[in-house]
Homo-oligomer: 391 residues x 2
């Protein structure tokens, strides 16, 4: 038997990988033994980047204050290093800034995109506070990219649908949570940055939440799907641009919910529907439930209140507000949950909202957290909201 591609016996796996790598076009950076980020047992984290020709390397991460950076120190070999922490258990984002240019960690291929804003490296510190964010062995739900017809918006649009562990194999019907992202985001925000499927798997497997379907839509009415779905970068929507017309809210009620209730094994009726969203998605949650007060029994408004958005072309018809609150009060949803961080730039709008709801004797639950308008908070809010549903 002939053997082609003769290789000397001493060659190792590394050789094979090198050959494979050679078939890739890019000049590779051979920083073979470097590790970054390296998490020590005490949760200090060492970051490293090989940049011998650079003059300044900074680190920025989601554990730092806004605009805060930390300087790495250059070693003799041209590798820059910095150890930080110990960091509290959390799912963090970070990146380097090399001579002023935002640069992803070349040694960490785990990257998440935050809408149209940015991409960043992922750093996960294990612990009790982050335990729900970590995939576990055991039953897992299915995450599907589903295209549906939206006559309301005149498009075939994409949403992400989470079906719980056991859905594929069983016959059971499930309640549904509709989970909305914020401005600048898209349908990939909750599954990726929010790790909603992992949180749901863990909550369901730990019997903290009942098994449910979670529907993560694209809340930008001028967008069919995340712009990365279309390889051409033609004028990606900035998301908030479409907030004003409330057409997403219409499409949610007229297109999304009917599609889900037709094509999935779903328990129907108000008592089996929850709606929640963050920031822009919180506004859309308010808009939808004010207009359709009998659609959802569980309502969550995260990091959004009665904000004046007229400067952005979003005119709230305040003449209807009183009757909207009264109508929703009459519909008597089982849960109206408002969550906001003390440092959120929309905190004052939440205070206003609570005051107005109080004036109407409207029953709601308020959850005030530390921190601001962050994914850290929204993951916590989801972890707390989902267990309260459908019980």
């Amino acid at each position: 038997m002939k053997r082609s591609l003769k290789l000397s016996p001493g060659r190792s796996m590394v050789t094979f990988l090198f050959i494979l790598l050679a078939s890739i076009h890019s000049p590779a950076q051979f920083t073979s033994n470097l590790i970054s980020p390296e998490i020590s047992s005490d949760n200090t984290v060492t970051f490293r980047i090989h940049a011998p020709n650079s003059d300044d390397v900074q680190l920025t991460g989601s554990w730092m204050a806004f605009n805060e950076t930390a300087k790495l120190i250059k070693g003799d070999t041209g590798t820059w290093t910095l150890t930080v922490g110990p960091l509290a258990p959390e799912l963090y984002g970070y990146n380097f800034i090399v001579d002023g240019v935002n640069t992803l960690d070349p040694l960490n291929k785990h990257i998440k995109r935050d809408g149209t804003w940015r991409v960043e490296n992922v750093l996960f510190i294990r612990g009790t506070a982050s335990d729900l964010y970590e995939p576990k062995t055991g039953p897992k739900g299915t995450v599907s990219q589903v295209w549906y017809s939206s006559p309301t918006l005149g498009m075939t649009r994409r949403m992400i649908v989470y079906t719980p562990p056991g859905y594929a194999e069983g016959n059971e019907k499930y309640p549904v949570m509709y989970l909305l992202h914020g401005g600048g985001g898209d349908e990939e925000a909750w599954p990726d940055l929010g790790v909603a499927p992992t949180i749901m798997d863990n909550l369901i497997n730990q019997k903290k939440a009942v098994p449910m379907i979670v529907v993560m839509t694209n809340g930008n009415p001028d967008q069919a799907a995340a712009y990365t779905e279309t390889p051409v970068l033609d004028n990606p929507s900035r998301g908030a641009a479409g907030m004003a017309n409330k057409m997403f809210e219409e499409s949610l009620v007229k297109d999304v919910i009917p599609y889900i209730e037709k094509n999935y094994r779903v328990k129907t009726g108000k008592q089996n529907r929850a709606l929640t969203g963050l920031s822009m998605g919180g506004l859309q949650t308010m808009n939808t439930t004010f207009k359709y007060p009998d659609m959802f029994n569980y309502i969550g408004v995260m990091s959004m209140g009665f904000a004046d958005l007229s400067a952005f072309g979003i005119e709230v018809d305040l003449s209807e507000r009183d009757q909207q609150i009264d109508a929703l009060k009459k519909a008597d949803p089982k849960l109206y949950w408002i969550a906001c961080g003390k440092d959120d730039f929309l905190y004052e709008s939440v205070t206003t909202m609570r005051k107005e709801l109080d004036e109407h004797g409207f029953d709601y639950t308020y959850r005030e957290s530390t921190g601001g308008h962050t994914w850290s908070n929204w993951r916590i809010y989801l972890s707390e909201f989902a267990p309260m549903l459908f019980k």
Copy 2:
């Protein structure tokens, strides 16, 4: 009605976005009006990066030769610019190299990960040759991340399942193509770098391929899923490490196919199964069909031949090769398709394979393309292989 969050009326959407942005931790790079990459009507492409403190900025892209880079020119404002092309229609990858550090284009948030190797920016040039890679309006399949039990490998593992347009709404049964990635890749390789769902949508909608289910597995038997599924970067598999034991091939036959045929509306039997893979996946395709010659009627081996992989600890038992070829010949699959690029580093192994198959009078179809061991070729191969199936 009170209004909180007073903003002066002159403030625009930009202000709102700025406020939102301010809630993100990173110091933002304000290069507001810059566009990169900018594709002109003649398909020349201009790349830009604002790096006033850098001394050298290079560009590397998949249209270039290995190790080739092109130098950007620094302008007065500190923005570096380069116009290249015109480029042929294709789905390209690229990145900058700033003072020697691989750097993603900060103005392009469209990024793809190539297994454990690298992340790169996406550049799509429209045209006839890339038309199948571009999402179109119209019916689309569903792409699902599915976890299944693999007793063979002792893990719950993840695969990506494409169901064709109409699957969710209908009752029809479909044939199945199993589509395997290469060394260093994972189950996200074909959906992302290979844009397999888009190619299949287009082929099916254009009636070039029959509607089928496509199953994209993780071919690394020591890995439950792409390492990015686990936020902790603990010892990510290098993929090829598990090639030797052929356990993936066993799990494909014993775990994956039974799961699919139980939980999806699938036409069963050899005549409704296709198996194809690239590089390592080509080897796994050969291994599987040699051991189970009656499982698949359509077999595609991409960019892999009878290579000597003993140096990587992969010992092929050549004493069985003759009888394996004869057994597969006797099973008489409707299609045995071999595809390789002229410049592929495994080209010689494909020549060897063809010679041995010829000596056995084994019937196969050979497709030789230009180029090498690249995603450009694998997308073309999928576009040509899928239309030949189940007809």
